[in-house]
């Protein structure tokens, strides 16, 4: 019996090791092979243009165009293409953030020396998830923003652990990560902000003490973002509607029914948009911001447009309840488990940006991309199954209670939950996996943790023998 257990655990650990190694190798080859190319995304063109003109709206943060401006400058001095600087920075930062997260969250326990390679190995696995690897070698802010979120999450777990009392350092790291994230992707002001403020609040409540440094950090981040919004961001300056809660609801609940619901729209809408235009808006979700919202806000002003959006949302919710519930549900599931949704979407299931993102990923190495993505998906299922078995065994042995990792799990769940809710409710029924990097990384971190458990179990068996 003991031999059987030993055999199973060692085999499982071997599987974890081999599958993860293969993904890392494939991922590194893919990253190096694609480093010379800039994937053809509309956002990339826009960011490059912003780095020249500095005309920003509330959809773009100032940090990434600044980085492009800087690397373009380096390009003119050194002759090395700017994208190489960007990719190198993004990949190195992603790796360091992964190391930081795995270490601070206690997912990989490593004492000085011998255990370090496991930490680097785990981080390399996190960096080489296909959707993350694609963002590391693309001129897009998603990679750096996800890294900043991961740093904040790792530090938050560390801060709330017993015995970690260097509050000032934690506040600096979390505040810095939050600020960087918010200046890269404006929605991260809220996404990391909600998380960071909750953690700060929880920490102060738990210790029954007020930490002025935490309050100062929040104030600084809000002030810098206020300055960005006031001085640099000009809503509608890039041909899109202004970001707002009503606008997000319009995207979420009314698209793609702009044309199908046309008989229910009042004259404010029908006077402004003909059938052809409504059809065009219904066909492409980005047209909600580019055509519908922009025209509404320019004609009626922001306040009145918002009022009309809310009326339209009410009508849509009443008329299309089932479709909306289904679309919201499937988007939420897709955002909650991006590895599985990517695999299914590439097989033709669901509505998403996955096909498009994948076509940009194919780039110079379409055959390698095919095997890399398919291998990563297939190995994810195998590792997930092994991970679930490990969880069940752990639960049976009572190891879960011993470990006292509820804080870590709660923080990770909170992060995933807010990301899922945010992107599900602000998107227009089309999941975009580039917004799921943090969630995908957390799933990969779960695999790393389970691999660690198998390793520790086999080590225990060997020690007992």
């Amino acid at each position: 019996m003991k031999n059987k257990k030993e055999f199973m655990k060692k085999t499982a650990y071997g599987l974890f090791f081999v599958l993860m190694t293969l993904q890392i190798v494939l991922g590194l080859v893919w990253i190096i092979g694609n480093a010379g190319k800039v994937p053809d995304f509309a956002e990339t063109k826009e960011l490059l243009e912003i780095s020249r003109t500095w005309v920003l709206d509330d959809y773009v943060g100032v940090c990434y165009p600044a980085l492009l401006w800087l690397t373009k400058g380096l390009e003119s001095v050194t002759g090395i293409p700017y994208n190489l600087f960007v990719y190198l920075l993004q990949t190195v930062v992603a790796f360091l953030a992964a190391v930081f997260f795995l270490q601070k969250s206690g997912l990989v326990k490593c004492e000085a020396g011998a255990g370090k390679w496991r930490l680097y190995f785990g981080a390399a696995y996190l960096v080489t998830i296909p959707m993350a690897a694609q963002c590391h070698v693309a001129v897009l802010p998603f990679s750096l923003a996800a890294s900043s979120f991961l740093v904040v999450l790792g530090e938050a777990i560390f801060l709330c652990k017993k015995g970690s009392q260097n509050v000032a350092e934690s506040v600096w790291i979390m505040g810095g990560g939050w600020l960087l994230g918010a200046l890269l992707l404006p929605e991260y002001l809220w996404l990391i902000g909600f998380f960071a403020v909750a953690v700060f609040g929880l920490y102060m409540w738990k210790n029954r003490k007020c930490y002025p440094l935490m309050l100062i950090a929040v104030a600084v981040v809000l002030l810098v973002n206020g300055l960005q919004a006031g001085l640099l961001q000009e809503p509608r300056s890039r041909g899109r509607m202004e970001k707002s809660f009503s606008g997000a609801m319009l995207h979420r609940f009314v698209w793609p029914h702009f044309f199908a619901n046309k008989y229910f729209w009042n004259s404010y809408i029908t006077d402004l948009f003909g059938d052809e235009e409504l059809l065009e808006i219904s066909e492409n979700p980005e047209n909600v911001a580019r055509i519908f919202g922009l025209k509404m806000e320019e004609t009626y002003g922001k306040e009145m447009a918002d009022r009309e959006y809310r009326k339209m949302v009410g009508v849509s919710l009443e008329m299309r309840t089932k479709e909306i519930v289904f679309a919201v549900g499937s988007d939420a599931l897709a955002y909650a488990c991006p590895q599985v949704s990517m695999d299914l979407q590439l097989k033709g299931v669901g509505v998403s940006y996955t096909g498009w993102n994948y076509s940009r990923m194919q780039g110079q190495m379409p055959v390698l991309t095919k095997y890399y993505v398919k291998f990563a998906s297939a190995s994810f299922y195998v590792l997930l199954a092994l991970g679930c078995v490990a969880l069940l065994v752990k639960k049976g042995k009572g190891d879960c209670k011993k470990e006292k990792s509820w804080g870590r799990r709660a923080f990770c769940l909170l992060a995933v939950l807010e990301l899922v809710i945010w992107y599900t409710m602000s998107g227009a029924g089309m999941q975009d996996y580039r917004n799921s990097l943090v969630t995908a990384t957390l799933w990969a971190a779960f695999m790393v943790k389970m691999a660690e458990w198998y390793r520790e179990s086999t080590a225990e068996i060997v020690a007992k023998d």
């Binding site: 071997g14 097989k347 096909g355 055959v367 991309t369």
Partner: protein
């Protein structure tokens, strides 16, 4: 040798794990048997919109006795259209450029992943899965028939600064021909030009209606020149098929002025068959 055996014994669990993994992944990657076709037809609605034996590929099979795969996607263009590279416009996956690249990579994930978002017809998923399983080793002839949608959508004819610009008709054609000749040097490529068409509702025809970059004949002439540049067979259905010549009315060969009826399809299939036979296939 002894050391290797010792190492194998020491690492037996890892080796067993690796073997299990390979078996597991082999099962996951196995996509079923490949299908053998001798002729692969890539095109737009002229090939794709009829899926039975009276389609051009179906009739071609009857005329030549060769096995023919219908890889037509109605409404699609030779060149790519998404000039802004926006993620919510995904029809480019069904353009000739997209299909050729996917064919060479043996990966139709872009098409499958974009199926729901892209404007598509009912038969597209079936065509994609057929293309996915086609064994390119067995294909001898690739018949290409595109162009009318490039004209109707007013896609640019050429970019003088970039002759391989995939967002222009000529650039995309050059790119695809070079790409296919590079990937499949032993395959015969037959390039079919679009046929003459009428627009009954507008009381106009393709010789008068300029969609932005010229009339249909401009696209046809460019296609012929590029075909000759790359030494591929060009079947000029615009000038030589008899459709649109003299007093032929649109009802004789087309259903609506653009899409061929059975008589029109027979005529074109026969011309392609003759072309293939003349090459000794």
């Amino acid at each position: 040798m002894k050391e290797i055996i010792r190492l194998v014994c020491k690492k037996k669990y890892e080796i067993l794990g690796a073997v299990l993994m390979l078996l597991l992944l082999g099962g996951l990657f196995w996509r079923g048997p490949k299908t053998d076709y001798e002729v692969l037809c890539l095109g737009d609605s002229i090939f794709g919109n009829v899926q039975n034996e009276t389609s051009i590929p179906g009739l071609l099979k009857k005329e030549t006795g060769l096995s023919v795969l219908n890889g037509g996607f109605g409404g699609m263009t030779l060149a790519q259209r998404n000039v802004e590279r926006r993620g919510d416009i995904q029809e480019d996956c069904f353009s000739l450029v997209g299909i050729s690249e996917s064919l060479a990579a043996g990966d139709f994930s872009w098409q499958k992943g974009s199926m729901e978002e892209a404007v598509h017809l009912d038969y597209f998923p079936q065509t994609v899965s057929e293309l996915e399983t086609v064994s390119m080793d067995c294909v001898e002839i690739i018949v290409i028939e595109y162009g009318v949608n490039d004209y109707l959508n007013g896609l640019p004819l050429e970019n003088k600064e970039n002759p391989y610009d995939k967002y222009t008709f000529a650039g995309a054609l050059r790119y695809v021909l070079e790409f296919l000749q590079d990937q499949y040097p032993d395959k015969q490529i037959v390039l079919c030009t679009p046929t003459y068409c009428w627009f009954p509702e507008e009381n106009a025809d393709c010789s008068r209606k300029n969609t932005g970059y010229g009339v249909l004949e401009d696209y046809v002439n460019l296609e012929k020149i590029i075909g000759q540049e790359y030494n591929v067979m060009v079947l000029d259905n615009y000038h030589e098929s008899g459709i649109g010549n003299g007093n032929v009315s649109w009802q004789e060969y087309t259903e609506d002025g653009l899409h061929l009826n059975e008589a029109g399809r027979k005529l074109i299939a026969k011309r392609i068959a003759e072309c293939i036979k003349s090459e000794g296939k």
